[in-house]
Structures are given as structure tokens and as C-alpha cells.
Symmetry: D2
Subunit: 286 residues, 4 copies
Amino acid sequence: MEKSILLLYCIDQKGIVAKVTTFLYKNNANILSSNQHSDHKSNMFYMRIEFDISNFLIKKQDIKTEFYKNVAKALDINFKIYFEDEKINSAIFVSGYEHCLIDILLKNNTNDLNMNIKAIISNHSTIENVVKKYSKGLDFFYISIDKNNKDLAEKQELEILQKYNVNLIILARYMQILSDNFISLYENKIINIHHSFLPAFMGANPYKKAFDRGVKLIGATSHYATAILDDGPIIEQDVIRISHKDSELDLINRGKDLEKRVLSRAIKLHLEHKILVANKKTIIFD
Amino acid sequence: MEKSILLLYCIDQKGIVAKVTTFLYKNNANILSSNQHSDHKSNMFYMRIEFDISNFLIKKQDIKTEFYKNVAKALDINFKIYFEDEKINSAIFVSGYEHCLIDILLKNNTNDLNMNIKAIISNHSTIENVVKKYSKGLDFFYISIDKNNKDLAEKQELEILQKYNVNLIILARYMQILSDNFISLYENKIINIHHSFLPAFMGANPYKKAFDRGVKLIGATSHYATAILDDGPIIEQDVIRISHKDSELDLINRGKDLEKRVLSRAIKLHLEHKILVANKKTIIFD
Amino acid sequence: MEKSILLLYCIDQKGIVAKVTTFLYKNNANILSSNQHSDHKSNMFYMRIEFDISNFLIKKQDIKTEFYKNVAKALDINFKIYFEDEKINSAIFVSGYEHCLIDILLKNNTNDLNMNIKAIISNHSTIENVVKKYSKGLDFFYISIDKNNKDLAEKQELEILQKYNVNLIILARYMQILSDNFISLYENKIINIHHSFLPAFMGANPYKKAFDRGVKLIGATSHYATAILDDGPIIEQDVIRISHKDSELDLINRGKDLEKRVLSRAIKLHLEHKILVANKKTIIFD
Amino acid sequence: MEKSILLLYCIDQKGIVAKVTTFLYKNNANILSSNQHSDHKSNMFYMRIEFDISNFLIKKQDIKTEFYKNVAKALDINFKIYFEDEKINSAIFVSGYEHCLIDILLKNNTNDLNMNIKAIISNHSTIENVVKKYSKGLDFFYISIDKNNKDLAEKQELEILQKYNVNLIILARYMQILSDNFISLYENKIINIHHSFLPAFMGANPYKKAFDRGVKLIGATSHYATAILDDGPIIEQDVIRISHKDSELDLINRGKDLEKRVLSRAIKLHLEHKILVANKKTIIFD
């Protein structure tokens, strides 16, 4: 089997599914799964199809062109085609907290997260040892950041990302704010984990804020980064129950497993091309 | 809009989706949503399509025949077509515990469960007042049951079900065992709620068994009734956390809300034709 | 058995538990359960003790005085003593949405919520029929509210509350804002249900805000009302998972069961005297 | 602060709390937290007290004797006293699946699980590299097991456990059955993780059984091992939602995080002396 994934959206209209699936069928693909969503408010249609191209009559490199010519053009469809055997190149940004990084490295080691980690970038030099321990051989870059060298630091980061042809940036508890320019270069390609149930407790110190407010559940939110802090399209959220017995430090510690879980689920959804972004929200084809 | 639902299954093969959706498209239906599932072990394909037939070129009463002739026959597809405006006729069986019955009656009053309740049947005469209070006007039947009159009682029940053309039987904490014959007449049309996380604690007194075993979560399971007790295809399950502080009576009381929730979700899935049964398991197109 | 509940707090110091429990023991009470919490930041101590007074050497009406004289005075303890057989008088305020009201009435009918509902007050006249249907005999008051008669309306409400000696006000989806004066008269005695996971989506239309933000979980929060809207001490919160398939109306409908569950749990905790409020947060002795 | 923990149980009777806490108070301890449970069916009383002994008038080595003489003897109390600074010596048994082992090693590295891991014992030689990678310096023992050498293998294991004075055995997905004799030597000191929601799917291949039964939630259960397989007192359980889309392999993979979470919570409760076993069930003072 040779799996391919088609993600598309267009104005809702009759015949989309018939035309798309007939194209695949006539060219001898086998549809493995299919999901669709119609948004009635905006009159938009969204779809994800997994299909087996091992006997496909069109060559891999021509699928895009043929699909455009035969189907997408007439219906004004926006689409992307992915091949399962083409792994995504990723970079992980991390600051002092290392639990999310370690979790990703372990899951990458066992192929629970199936990507090419090309670079691990941190403003904390201590992370180098973590990388060495859990994934010897991965490239680590220490880029110190202070208020005077932010531009330079981002320039260095961008060079690394471009050199390695990185297509996915994971902010695994990265506590530095990225510039609008930086973010605009990687639209819907930067996954952040925020340690609260957004939109509650945006910005710094969410566990302190949660503790002070006396909430009975704490949350974690994984989202695509946008120019506005903690405001990007939400991919995944979850919560755990706490009580008055938990100190602020307890929240920080108990939240670690939650953050790991939410971030790794979001990364997995992205790697499997199960996410479409529309109107600042995500459609998750799971 | 005039919504219709097509549920189908067949041996997995290329072209199913293309042929089904092309049939709908050519006849001017608009596909509202579509879900599919391929079971690789058994090589079977399952699908649910919601489509708008308000401009359909085929008359409502002919859709079945036309779909068979043009699509289903060649692909050897098993299918059913439902129309949203045709409400299902249901009967509710209940014994002494009335919480699930009340919940269904309330949800039916507000159309959260959209069906025609044709009869409420109980082996407890006290239920009559419950019905009068929460849904005045519904037909109630008291059928007393003891070990000597079981056959007669079932005969009476079947007469009622046939008279009212009942297509869905809800066992809302009904504590009598139905005969194999009775069950075989309503295959995948009898929804039971069992007050445990099946297959743990099958049979009588599951809360006592759960208490004695010292579990930390209690569950409820809604399933289609089959000839083997508590063994039918599971539609929905859920659990709540308990502790050593909970007595057996606490479990009974705390389980009530859980049972209501699980049963009403299962009924809703059935009413919306979102369930396919295969190999003693359910496929839930939600 | 004749259950009594002691709720207390004071500056943390050695010997509190010993002195309190020795007082109970010497006077022939049997301690049924006991919970305590020390807040290290504020150096405060909180405690709840349930004890059986059926053989207590002190008369019921003297317990308060004797406990003060013998224990509380020296340790500067703030305390309250409740007797299980003294039901709390409550009033329910409700606007157009009736699901929480119905749930409370049903749970009160079956003693799952053990209180004396003295009055149901609504600014919607249609609620009268709901009350008649589910709890015939309860006193209903229709008090219409517009921007010109708010003061007068509150005056009427307060008269009712005082006439019936109401000690607990339940805002069961009551959409009017109460004045600071009103709230100050019932400190920690007004339980509100807000249909979001506070502090996210405070104020009006939380389901619309949640829909627009694209959250993956929606929540409900029950809290004591304070002068600042949706800012009072949180008693209970819970969430359910939603997806991009849910419309704003779906959120409203799916949230109903959640709101009922969260509100009724909060009421139950209050009725069982399991809540202490400190520093704008609750300590839940459960 | 120097924390000590007292765990006790006895026949329920008046004055226990008063006498225990007065003993602590008179000797200048500060009670940090206290939990109790009365089981009305068996008329037994259970208690856990955390107290600060930094200014205690009794020497550490005499507390046991003094408490017995002054309190426990007269009330016929069974008790144990623990000191927070005395770490528990543990051994981890593991077979081919390494995810639980790795999770424990990582949590031990960061003191999220606060114990002395004295030995890691496996019937799979490949585990040695895992130990070296994640916790260099820990002692690893490869003890191969086949049907002919079971007795000898257990003898070797017991020698290791005795040599290292091990007081807690963690079966981190250990797939060999221990003999009754072995288990009897470590009553309530062997924590197992079973990959199902017990008592559903006891014994081998629970994920296969869960898949075949078509459950909608899968679970994990951590319990003390007893002579009867998967029948010991349950410490912790949890579940995650699955669907018809999940294959048996998906269940195995998705269950990994669940097993880790449930096992590490159970270990933590044990290490913090929060568990009392009574009537084959656990009382969790959390």
C-alpha cells in the first residue's frame, strides 16, 4: 500500500464528492477513508481523502497537475496532496522546561510521532544534554536571547530552518515571543502548547492565575501560533481536575503530563494531515 | 431542506464512493455529510450519507428501487434509506426504577429525542402515575409478570408493539429477561441500558458487584439486546469516578445520571440512523 | 443517628484538632467524618467535622455556646454548626431557559437535593406552568423586569426571600444582574451557574463566544455570586468535548446536561455544608 | 519541617481521633493533614495523619513504642509510622514492553516518584540498554525464564530483593506469573498494572478481548498483586475513549499513555503512604 492524502476546500456546491471520487476511481485509486465538513454559515466545503496509489494510473509527480486540470480548476478547489512516505521536517523550540521536549523525543524514537526532527533550538544551553541523552545524533543549537539581540537570534533561527528545509515548528514550552514576520513565514506550521485552557489565562504564568482564581480544572491548549499571542486556531485541548489541596507548584507539576498529552496529540494530527484551518478555527478530520 | 439518510455496507472494492455519490449528484441531491469505514480484517466497507432531496429528480417512493437498480445491485450493496421527516415509533419498557423513563419523556417533550413514543409498558403499576405526570396522553400498559405468566405477558407485549407498528424498543431499566423469540423479532431494534461498564459485572446487581470488587470507576453501557444477556453490540459507554467513601447505595444514586446520559445518547444515535452493526460490534458514524 | 456538622476556620496553630475532637469526645459525640486543610501561604486552618449527637451530653440548643466557651474562644476559631434535620430554605430564580429548574425540581422531588424550596421567582410568566407540572404546590412568583423597574423588582424579591426565611438562592440560568446591595445581603448564599468554563467567556453569550473562538471543550461553572459579574468563588466546573461539527445551537443544546450536572453538584455540596470560602476561593470538603 | 505519617485502623469507637491527636499535640507535633474513614458495614475505622515532628518531644526511634503504650494498646489500634525522609527501596520487574519502565525512570530522575530504585529485573535482555539509556548506574538483572526454570528464577529474584532490602515491587508490564509463595512474602507491596478496566478482560490479551467485544472505552488498572491473578485490591483505574476506527494495534498504542498514567499514580499513592487495604479493597487518603 502507498498512502496519499488529499486535503481540499471550496465553496459548497453539488457534485464535489462525486467528481473528486470519480477522478480517483477512474484512475484506479482505492479510497481508504474520507471525511467531509460543510459549514453552512460560510457556505464552504472541506474534505480529506486517504487513498491508496499503489496501482494509480497517474504518476506520483503528475497527480497534482492532473487533479487540478480534471477536477479542481472547474470547481475552484483549493487543495494539497501529501504522500505518507514523505516525512515532514520539523524543528523543536524549547526553553527551560524540558518535559514536552523529552516526550516528543521518546515518541519520535518509537515512531509514535513520525517526522524528521532536523533541529532542536533552545535559549537554554542546558537543553543540549537532554538532547544528547534522549536522541543522540540530533542537531542542537543554543541561541541565547536577550532584549538586545532578538532580531539577530531570529535571523539565526531562520537560517537553520531554511537550511534544513523545516516545514513544522514545535514550540515545546518555548517562552520567547516570536516576531510577526517570523510567524507569517510559517502560517499554520507553528504548533504551540499553552499551559491553560485558552482563552482563559492567556499570556504569562497561567498556573499562577489559575491558582489565584480558584478553578477546579486546569487545562492545556495546543494551537497554531499567530501574530496575536495565544490567539491562534486551537488544535487540541484537555483538562484535569484539581482541588484546593493543590498548591501552585502542584498545578505546575500535575500539568506536565497534560501538556505532553495535548501537544503530542496536536503534532500527530498535523503530521497525519488531519487539520484544515478556516476562519481562525480548525477542522479536525479524525 | 428535506434530509434523507443512506446507510450501506458491502465487500470493499474500488469505486463504491464514486458510484454512490455520482448517482446522488446526477439526480440533483446535495450531499450534506458523509462517513465511511473500511474494515481491513473482514474486507468490508460501511457508509452513511446524509443528502438533501428537496430537488431530487427521483420521487421519494422510487429512491429505493432506483438506487438498487443503478448502483446497489452491481456492487452487491446492502442498504437502507431513511427520511428525516419519518419519525420512528418507539415503546419504552420499564420496571421499578423510573429515572431513565423520566429523562426520556422530558427529552421527548423538548424534541431532544425525536420519536413517536407509542406505548410505555411496565410490570410495575406505579409507573402509570409517572407517565401521567411527565407526558400526559401517552398510552401506558401495566402487564404484571410472574414466573407462571411470562409467555402470556410477552404475547400481550407483542400485540401492543404490532398494533402500534413499533420499530424501536427502549429497555429503560427493565429488569425482566425477554425471550429469544421476542428478541429475534426486533434485531438491532431493542436498546438496553446496563448499569455497569460491560463486560464487567454482567447480569444482576452490578452496583453491588462493583462495590464488592472495589473499583475506582463505575460505568454504564447501552447496547442492542441479543439472545445472550448483556452481550449485544455496545452503542455507548461512560464512567464516573467513585471512592472508598461511596456506599453501595451511593453507587446506585450516583449511577442514575450516568445511566440517563448513556441511554439517551444511544437512543439519539439510533434515531439519527448513525449506527451500523457488524460482527457483533457497532460502527458509530458521529 | 442524629448528624451534626461543624465547619470552622482559624489561624493555624498546634492543638486545634486535639482540642476540638476532645471536646466532642468528652461530651459523648461520635465523629463520623473529618476533613481539614491547612493553607500554608496564609497560615490558616480549615476543618469540617460530621458527628453523631444522639447521645451528646450537651443539649442541641447549647452546643454553640458551649463550643465557643470551651474551645473556640481561646483559639479564636470562627465556626458554624448545622444539624442535618434542619433543612435549608431556598428560592430558585430563573429566566427563559427551564432545563436547570426542571432538573432541580425533579431532584428535589426524589430527595436527591434535600432542601425546602420556598419560592420560585421568574421574570418569565411561562415558568409558572413548568412549576405546576413538575412540583405542584410550590409557590411561584412572576416578577417582570425592565430597565425602569429594577429597584422595585428587587424590593419585591427581597420581601419574598425574607417572608420565607430563605437562606439559599439558586440562580438557575437567571439572566438578570442582581444589585450589589442584594448580593451583599446573601454573601456565599447565592449559587449561580454560568454556561462557560470561567474565567473564559464571562458575561453574555458564552456559547457564541466559545463557538467563535473554536474551543475543543465547552464548560460550565457554578459559583457563589459576588458584586463582580462571574467572578465569585468557584464551587464546581466541568467540560465536555465538542468538535467543528457542532454549531452554536449544538453547543447550547449539548451544554444543557452539563449545566444541570454542575449546578446540582454545587447545590448538593452547599446543602451538605461541605464548602468553606476563603480568599475568594472555595475549600470543598468532599 | 520533618514530615511523619501515621496510618492506622481499628474497631470504630468513640474517642479515637481525640486520643490520637491529643497524643500528638501534647508531644508538640503539628498536624499537617488528617483523613479518616469509617466503614459502617464492618464497624472499622481508618485514619491517616501527616504531622511535623521537627519539635516533637519524643525521639524518632521511640515514637512507635510511645504511641503503642499511650494510645494504640488501649484502643487495639493497628498502625504504622513512616518518615518522609526514609525513601522506599523498590525493584521494577519488566518484560518486553518498555513504556512503563521508561516513564518510571524518567519520573524517578526528576523526583516525581521519590524512591530508591535498587534493581531492575527483566526476562528480556534487551531491557538492559533501556536502563543504561534512561538511568545509567541503576543495577539491571537479566533473569531468563522458561517453563522449566521458574522456581530457580524466583529464587534468584528473591535473593536480589532481600540483598537490596526491597520493600516495593513494581510490575511494569511484567508478563510472568509470580508464585503464591513469592506474592505472600510481599503482601500489599507488589503493584501491578493490568491493561484493562478490571474486572473486565482479566488474564492475557486484554486489548484483543476489548477489540473483539467492541467496547467504546478502554481502561487500565493498577492493583496490589495477590495469589489470584488480576484480583488484588484496586489502587487506581482510568479509561480513554476509542471508536470502531481503532484497530487492535491502535488500542495497544493508545493504551500505553493510559497505563503509564495509572501505574505512576498508583506508585505515587503508595510512596506517600496514602493507601490502606481492607477487605480486599483500598482506602485512598488523597
